[in-house]
C-alpha cells in the first residue's frame, strides 16, 4: 500500500469517528421503541438465549400449532410463563428493566463442598458454575429481562412454586436436575442444580445474593 493510500485510509477512519463524536455528544442511553427492541431480539441480537434453545422452542411452538394443542399464559412475580403441551417458556415481564447489567450479583451463600468452577460476565448475562467432588453442580444465571427467554421441557418433569420469603420461585423439578426461575423486577435469575439439593439450601442461595 502506498503512503498516500495508507494516510487516506487513516483519514477516512478519523473523519468518520470525529463526525460521529460530533453527533453523539450525549453519552447517555438512547430510548427506543418496543417494536425496535422486539425486532432486534427476534434477530437474535439482544437475546441471551442459545440458538439451539430458540430452534427448539420454535419447533415445539410450531408443532403445537399444527396439532392444535392449547397454549396458555401465566404471570408469576415478574415472570411471564407460556405453557404448552410438554414445554414451558419463561420470560421476564418488567417493562422498564435495565438494558445492560448494572450490578452483577454474587452468591454469598453456597452449600458446603462446592467450589466455583467458572464465571462469565457479559453485558447481558452473568453466569457462575459451582461443582463438588461428586460432580454435583449449581449454575446461577443473572440475565437482562430483555434477554430472558428460557424454554424448558416439562414432559418428564413437573413445575411448582416456592416462596423464599423474598421471592417467588418458579421451579421445574426433573429427575436429574431442578431449575428455579425468579425475577427481582430488574433482572431474571435462574438457578440450575443437581436434583437432590435441599429446598432450604436453594432458599439460602437465593436470599443471599448481593
Amino acid at each position: 500500500m502506498t503512503e498516500n493510500r495508507a494516510l487516506l485510509k487513516q483519514a477516512l477512519i478519523e473523519a468518520t469517528v470525529k463526525t460521529t463524536d460530533a453527533i453523539c455528544t450525549d453519552g447517555g442511553r438512547v430510548k427506543y421503541s418496543d417494536r425496535h427492541r422486539k425486532r432486534l431480539r427476534s434477530l437474535g441480537i439482544s437475546t441471551g438465549i442459545s440458538t439451539r434453545a430458540k430452534i427448539l422452542i420454535a419447533a415445539i411452538a410450531a408443532a403445537l400449532l399444527l396439532t392444535g394443542c392449547a397454549i396458555f399464559h401465566e404471570q408469576i412475580a415478574g415472570l411471564f410463563l407460556t405453557f404448552g403441551n410438554g414445554f414451558v417458556n419463561i420470560e421476564g415481564s418488567t417493562p422498564d428493566a435495565p438494558k445492560e447489567i448494572e450490578h452483577a450479583y454474587v452468591a454469598t451463600y453456597i452449600p458446603e463442598g462446592f467450589t466455583e468452577a467458572e464465571r462469565e460476565e457479559e453485558w447481558y448475562i452473568v453466569e457462575c458454575i459451582w461443582k463438588n467432588s461428586s460432580e454435583d453442580f449449581i449454575v446461577l444465571t443473572q440475565s437482562l429481562v430483555d434477554a430472558s427467554g428460557f424454554g424448558a421441557d416439562t414432559k418428564y418433569s413437573y413445575s411448582m412454586t416456592i416462596e423464599t420469603g423474598e421471592f417467588t420461585l418458579f421451579c421445574i423439578i426433573g429427575s436429574d436436575f431442578n431449575i428455579y426461575y425468579w425475577s427481582d423486577n430488574m433482572y431474571v435469575f435462574t438457578l440450575r442444580t443437581s436434583s437432590h439439593l435441599d429446598e432450604n439450601e436453594i432458599k439460602n442461595i437465593v436470599n443471599n445474593l448481593k
Binding site: 487516506l8 483519514a11 477516512l12 460521529t20 434477530l43
Partner: protein, 184 residues
C-alpha cells in the same frame, strides 16, 4: 431473515455481533436519527436503518477486521449507508452529475495527487465535509478495501455510479486541499 441469522453457528462471530451491539447500538441510533431528522417518522425510520445495518453487519461479519475506532467507523458507515437507502426511497437517489458516468477513473493518479503527508489534518476536514454519498464509497474502497463491484452490491448502486462517486469524492478532497493551500 431469522433463519439466516440463526444459521450463524460460529461462536466467535456471534460474540462479535453482540460486542458491536453492546458498544455501538446507541451511537448507531443517534447517527441514524441525525441523518434522517428531516423525515416525519424520523425515530422509527432510524430504528429501521439500525436494524438493517445489523443485518448487513451480520451478513459480512466474517470480513470485518479492525477494532476500536476502525470498528466504530465501520459500524457507523454501514448505518449511514442504510440511512441513505431509506432516504433514497423518499427522494431521487441520483444528483444530475451522477447521470454522467466517468469511464476515466484513474484511481492511483488521483490518490497520488493528494499530498496527504503534509495535509493530513486538512484531508480529515475535507472528508468530514463530504456528502455521505461520496464518503461511504471512499470508506468502503480504501478502508474496507472492497472492489467497485462489491461496493455497488452493498450500496445498491450501479457500478458506474460507484466509479463516479469515488472519482468525485477524491476530486473534492483534492479541491479542498488546494483551496486551503492557496494553489487554487
Amino acid at each position: 431473515m431469522l433463519i439466516f441469522l440463526l444459521s450463524i453457528s460460529d461462536e466467535e462471530d456471534r460474540d462479535k455481533i453482540k460486542l458491536i451491539f453492546k458498544r455501538f447500538h446507541n451511537d448507531m441510533l443517534r447517527v441514524a436519527r441525525y441523518k434522517l431528522r428531516e423525515l416525519p417518522d424520523c425515530n422509527s425510520s432510524a430504528e429501521d436503518a439500525v436494524e438493517n445495518a445489523f443485518l448487513k453487519i451480520t451478513k459480512y461479519i466474517k470480513s470485518i477486521k479492525g477494532e476500536g475506532d476502525s470498528l466504530r467507523a465501520y459500524v457507523i458507515t454501514v448505518t449511514v449507508n442504510e440511512c441513505i437507502n431509506i432516504l433514497n426511497g423518499e427522494r431521487s437517489p441520483l444528483s444530475i452529475e451522477e447521470h454522467f458516468s466517468d469511464d476515466s477513473f484513474n484511481e492511483d493518479s488521483l490518490i497520488d495527487s493528494l499530498d496527504l503527508r503534509d495535509n493530513y489534518e486538512n484531508a480529515v476536514q475535507a472528508i468530514m465535509l463530504l456528502n455521505d454519498r461520496y464518503r461511504i464509497p471512499l470508506y468502503m474502497r480504501y478502508v474496507e478495501e472492497l472492489t467497485v463491484e462489491e461496493i455497488s452490491e452493498r450500496t445498491a448502486t450501479p457500478v458506474k455510479t460507484v466509479y463516479t462517486r469515488l472519482t468525485r469524492g477524491l476530486q473534492l478532497v483534492r479541491e479542498y486541499l488546494e483551496r486551503r493551500n492557496g494553489t487554487k
